[in-house]
């Protein structure tokens, strides 16, 4: 077992008295792909957002428990949230490039962090676009508006933007659900490539995507972790009936 990059311990979250996450305990191994699966509203995305502290400012949101990245509690007062968000890149369901050039999109985060040297920005842009398997398609049109790219290209651009600030964790919330099958396969291929360098957390409704790209799977049901394990075991022989019912498409 690879060491845990993220340790989630007894994490509970309530929104205005509604229990969204209930005593979550989960270790996310370094340099592996961990998939979170579960029905809509089970808390997958909320859990993902907790790791990036995106729930902090929501009114009436109460978080209890601990999340440690590299053994450091990210909810302790002294923890630098900007630094956390640099370390933990996030990509959402619908590609959200900024309405500027492809180049500006990729270097946006770096500029925000105060990087000004042009050759440094150029290098970082090329490196991230290559990592996101987009470089060959856009290298001659870096000044073109990013919104003119196809959906699949936009999603890879957004991944490149996340990679530019050199995070060590990448969280993907339904990264391929709005894409056609070919773009989906490219994103999946990319995820497999990226896990050499990053710890990846994937939320998906597409069970077979989880089966194809992830090493570990955690099944959430009504805010609880029902089952975790090696993906190959979960998809051929789950231990719990609730997991079985969910992945085989049965009424619970």
């Amino acid at each position: 077992m690879t060491p845990a990059k993220i340790e989630i311990e007894n994490l509970s979250l309530t929104f205005a008295d509604r229990q969204v996450l209930n005593q979550i305990n989960l270790n996310i191994p370094a340099n592996q792909v961990t998939a979170l699966i579960g029905a809509s509203g089970c808390g997958k995305s909320t859990l993902l957002k907790c790791i990036n502290r995106l729930n902090d400012l929501k009114p009436q949101c109460d978080i209890d428990g601990a999340i440690r990245i590299d053994h450091e509690d990210i909810y302790q007062k002294s923890y630098d949230v900007t630094d956390l968000r640099r370390k933990v890149g996030m990509v959402f369901q619908v590609p959200n490039p900024f309405p500027t050039s492809i180049y500006e999109n990729v270097v946006f985060g770096l500029k925000l962090l105060g990087v000004r040297k042009r050759h440094h920005l150029h290098e970082a842009a090329e490196k991230s676009l290559r990592q996101a398997a987009l470089w060959d398609e856009v290298k001659d049109q870096l000044n073109q508006n990013a919104l003119q790219l196809s959906g699949g290209q936009q999603q890879r651009l957004v991944i490149a933007r996340a990679l530019a600030v050199e995070p060590n964790i990448l969280m993907l919330d339904e990264p391929a659900s709005a894409l056609d099958p070919i773009s989906t396969l490219k994103i999946e291929e990319l995820i497999t490539e990226l896990k050499q360098t990053y710890t990846i957390l994937l939320v998906t409704h597409n069970m077979h995507q989880a089966a194809r790209v992830s090493d570990f799977t955690a099944f959430l049901d009504q805010g609880r972790i029902m089952e975790t394990g090696q993906t190959r075991d979960i998809f051929t022989n789950p231990r719990r009936k609730a997991t079985e019912d969910y992945i085989t498409g049965r009424y619970a």
Binding site: M207, H208, A211, F235, T236, N237, P238, K241, T243, E244, D245, I247, T248, G249, R250, Y251
Partner: protein, 253 residues
Amino acid sequence: MHDAMEGFSRHISQQFNHELEGIRTEMLAMGGIVERQVHDAITALTKNDIQLAEESKRLDQQTNQMELSIDDQCTKMIAIRQPTASDLRLIVSISRSVSDLERIGDEASRICKHAIDIYNSGENPKGYHEARHIGALVSGMINDVLTAFARRDLAMAYRVAKQDIRVDTEYRTAMRTLVTYMMEDPASISGVLNVMWVLRSLERIGDHARNLAEHLIYQVSGTDVRHQTLKSIKQTLRDDSPDDEDDLNPNSE
């Protein structure tokens, strides 16, 4: 997931329910025909009934067709439904099982062919007693394993796997007896050889019946127990009854 018997009807997709139930029913129907083929082949041999032998051989075409049809449905379901967990295991185990059933049918046809050869030669070779005895054992195994499939009964599947050890032992004993017959009466060699081939087929049928039991164990428990000793299958099934001689047989793979 031992309580999944009613599970085939619980999918959100009704069509998928029908398809799964369909291949399961067809596999059991194929099993019924194969069971009859074996029974008829043994009767045809021991009663010199070549008409029955011909009929049994004709059934083989039917089981061949059923194998193709069920396997095709399995392939399509894997492509279209992308089944997981118990659904996937059900489909995989049925696909494997129809292949074993088809080969049982082939062995039954072989027995019929030898029955016809013996009849045409006008001989009345020794060894029918052994054939009848082992035939009854393997017929019982097929019957039991199909019942086990219908009920998803793993204890019964285990008994079938275990019975195969007994068939193997009886087969070796019978072969020695037949060799003695041939040494005593060299004129009987060609006739007894035919019976030996029959015994060989029966022994193979026993092996296929054990394979079927193993496919069922995989389907229900999720553990692939092929090429394992009885002792280790027993552990998989968490059967803690006292071991007998067969359970401990080191050659029981």
